[in-house]
């Protein structure tokens, strides 16, 4: 338990400190022509052919983001389908099928990293680095850029230092935000973490799998190696989650020691926490940070407590012979607490890496992971988590406005009809995608491919679509998911779950910033109060339960009750 508190406290302090750097990176009034700008960024802007001084409207911003993502995704798709003929393939792995390659490309393009393959056996070093690591950098950077653009919209628009007023409708320049987040945030952090991970034992080589004879010599081993450390660092930092080896950070080669495990756990949470701390200053309303961080931390702590408690209970299948906690699918060097902590954090942040097999979690442990993905803004993915949180906040402002009978407004700007319609789409979309696709798959058992009977089989299906839509990437991995049905239906969920929840908030931010903000008066709704925070938590809980409680009953809650009844 000391480990848990130590990891969480260190991350909170680290995130708070890092947030000051994020504000300096993204607040346009603090852009400086420093050395990095002169030598790297300015030449890059010229190469890109962009005018960094001209901020984009929401359409231009989202269009640039989408086009850039699609190009890289298409290229990754090609690489996966032709990797057998391309260089850096020392273990001579064959090409992926077109549908698996498509799912993999879209999965990484959407910052999800859901994997229907086993990396160490099915991908070449080129696919793992050139295609995947590239996407693992640019997708969280895209999300971070979108979040910053949205915040600028909420405070009235892009505003250079010294400009008398913000530019209404202008959210910033996508390529500038992208480049700055990559050069100033992701690259330095990933380089540092990679090297620490190599020190701890994560491989960094272009050598093929190494044959070893083993001591008893009955079964020689081929140990798959590669440039694993650089991938693991960015998959943890960028809420990516897709690792080198099939079982992800449960694999000792990917996560060798308790220290590497603690660092990787912190890396899951670091940037989402830092973004939450940075939100207030970026909005030029520092007091809002307390609301955002407070609500997120409270929700997070509740889920962590539930998840850890669940995994400390014995596994029902083993309780007749042992008194230990649930260790099925967990590693001895980590133990149940560190595994459950990772499992809950990775689903609160849209990361999706694992250091234990979620399919073998106790029912309520698996449920905690599911709930984290349903909310998807407990901390949320880098950038997109904050966007999702602001959507909950706007819904709460709307409901609070209804309750007191006033036009709902935020920072002096009215939430007009198109804004409310946009919010309604965002509220209805998750259940529409997750529950409808789950229902179709469960209707046809030949499609579902579940490996567990009963309630848990239902949970496997719901988990897979939830993970795809929430851009998480973790899974109940017993599911037979490399089929055309799973690959293609998940592609749909991945795309809808990524781009709609970025597009609509940017649209809303653009609309709000185009309004002339009225001065905030004593009669305005105050959002930096404990009362509003409690209302916000209530709204998040209510929306989640209303939409997903039936699915939870048929899945983990049903499983837990059945196991309790059987004892």
């Amino acid at each position: 338990m000391t480990e848990l508190l130590l990891v969480l406290a260190t991350t909170a302090v680290g995130g708070a400190l890092l947030s000051r750097h994020l504000v300096a990176v993204f607040d346009e009034s603090r852009f400086r022509a420093d050395e990095l700008h002169r030598r790297v960024e300015a030449p890059l802007y010229r190469l890109l052919g962009v005018a960094p001084g001209v901020p984009m409207d929401w359409r231009g911003y989202f269009g640039a983001l989408l086009l850039f993502n699609l190009l890289l995704g298409a290229l990754a798709w090609l690489v996966f389908m032709t990797q057998a003929w391309l260089p850096l393939n020392p273990d001579r792995v064959p090409n992926l099928s077109w549908d698996l390659a498509l799912h993999t490309a879209v999965s990484f393009m959407t910052n999800t990293n859901q994997q229907h393959y086993s990396g160490q056996a099915q991908l070449s070093h080129l696919s793992q680095t050139f295609a995947i690591v590239t996407l693992q950098f640019v997708t969280p950077a895209s999300g971070m850029a979108a979040a910053v653009a949205m915040l600028r919209g909420l405070r009235g628009g892009f505003q250079w230092a010294g400009a008398p007023a913000p530019q209404p409708g202008r959210l910033g320049h996508f390529h500038v935000d992208l480049v700055r987040s990559l050069t100033r945030v992701f690259l330095p952090l990933a380089l540092l973490l990679s090297l620490v991970l190599v020190w701890q034992g994560v491989p960094a080589t272009y050598a093929p799998a190494t044959q070893v004879t083993t001591l008893e010599a009955a079964a020689p081993q081929a140990i798959p190696l590669g440039p694993v450390a650089p991938m693991v660092a960015i998959k943890q930092l960028g809420t990516n989650g897709g690792g080198w080896y099939g079982p992800n950070s449960a694999t000792p080669l990917e996560n060798p020691t308790p220290l590497s495990n603690a660092l990787q756990t912190m890396a899951i949470l670091l940037l989402p926490v830092a973004m939450a701390f940075a939100a207030g200053p970026l909005l030029r309303r520092p007091r809002v940070t307390a609301l955002i961080v407070g609500v997120m931390a409270l929700t997070s702590a509740g889920l962590v407590a539930l998840g850890v408690h669940a995994e400390l209970q014995p596994n029902a299948a083993a309780v007749a012979y042992t008194d230990g906690p649930n260790m099925e699918g967990k590693e001895q060097r980590f133990g149940a607490v560190a595994s459950a902590l990772w499992g809950t954090l990775t689903t609160q942040t849209s990361n999706g890496s694992v250091n234990a097999m979620h399919d073998s979690f106790n029912p309520l442990g698996g449920m905690t992971a599911l709930v984290g993905m349903f909310v998807n803004a407990v901390w949320g993915g880098v950038g997109v988590g904050l966007i999702g949180f602001v959507v909950y906040l706007l819904v709460t402002v709307f409901l609070a406005g209804l309750m007191v009978g006033r036009t709902p407004e935020l920072f002096g700007r009215k939430l007009d009809l198109p804004t409310i319609q946009g919010l309604a789409v965002l509220v209805v979309l998750p259940p529409a995608v997750i529950l409808v696709l789950s229902a179709v798959a469960l209707w046809h058992p030949a499609l579902a491919g579940t490996s567990n009977p009963g309630f848990h089989g239902i949970a496997q299906v719901v988990y897979e679509y939830t993970s795809a839509f929430a851009n998480n990437g973790s899974g109940f991995e017993g599911l037979g998911d490399n089929t055309p049905w799973w690959n293609l239906s998940c592609v749909l969920a991945l795309l809808l779950g990524r781009y709609v929840p970025i597009a609509i908030p940017l649209y809303i931010a653009g609309r709000l910033s185009a309004q002339r903000g009225a001065p905030e008066t004593a009669a305005s709704l105050r959002i930096d109060t404990p009362l509003f925070a409690a209302t916000l938590i209530g709204v998040i809980a209510l929306l989640t339960l209303l939409t997903f409680l039936p699915a939870l009953m048929l899945g983990p809650i049903g499983e837990a009750l059945a196991l309790a009844a059987a004892r």
Binding site: M56, A209, A219, Y321
Partner: protein, 201 residues
């Protein structure tokens, strides 16, 4: 709404950004980490291989399957300790197959070990996450001492000493769990048979 005055449109930035990202993050970044990593930590960068007489017999980070009575046995594995096929069982606590597997493991331990207790260490009964867990709990190691000592014709205390040398406690006193490195113990047991009294590496 006035759009970007950029005459090259929106395609050029996207194309150039794609090319630059691929070169920078897909090629240069991993290559840089490999170069620096191999220079600074050569053994770890190559997979922490363990060599005996010039050939690789295993990795510090990859558990092996041990069946001989003179060896410490690792945790159950869903993939028979094949590092190319790493995976967990992915069986839910409610899955009948998991119940049967655990019962079979408990029976096997009762049959094989000398004086096994009725309540067993949990890591002896459950498959690890990746199927190549290099470690077991000190309790599971202790459970195997009598059988190993009998098979090797040495005193149990000698086995315990080897195990103790290959037992790691939580890092900084708080991170992770106490754990015994199975391959390390077995290598040391074999080494001490060849070179009597020589300390383990």
């Amino acid at each position: 709404m006035r759009h970007e005055p950029d005459s090259t449109g929106t395609l050029r930035p996207a194309l150039v950004a794609t090319a630059v990202s691929l070169l920078m993050f897909g090629l240069a970044y991993p290559a840089a980490v490999v170069m620096v990593g191999r220079a600074a930590f050569p053994a770890q960068a190559r997979g922490s291989l363990i060599e005996r007489d010039g050939r690789a017999i295993g990795s510090d980070l990859v558990g092996q399957r041990f069946e001989g009575n003179g060896y410490l046995t690792g945790r159950p594995s869903a993939v028979g300790y094949d590092p190319a096929a790493v995976a967990g069982s992915n069986l839910a606590p409610s899955h009948p197959a998991l119940r049967e597997a655990v019962a079979a493991r408990a029976r096997a331990i009762a049959d094989r070990e000398i004086g096994a207790p009725t309540r067993l260490p949990v890591d002896a009964l459950t498959a690890s996450g990746a199927g190549i867990d290099p470690h077991i709990s000190p309790a599971y190691a202790e459970l195997q001492v009598a059988r190993i000592a009998l098979a090797r014709g040495i005193a149990p205390q000698q086995v315990r000493e080897v195990i103790a040398r290959h037992t790691r406690m939580p890092t900084l006193g708080v991170l992770g769990q106490p754990r015994v490195h199975v391959l390390g113990v077995n290598l040391a047991l074999d080494d001490s048979r060849v070179h009597d009294e020589s300390p383990a590496p």
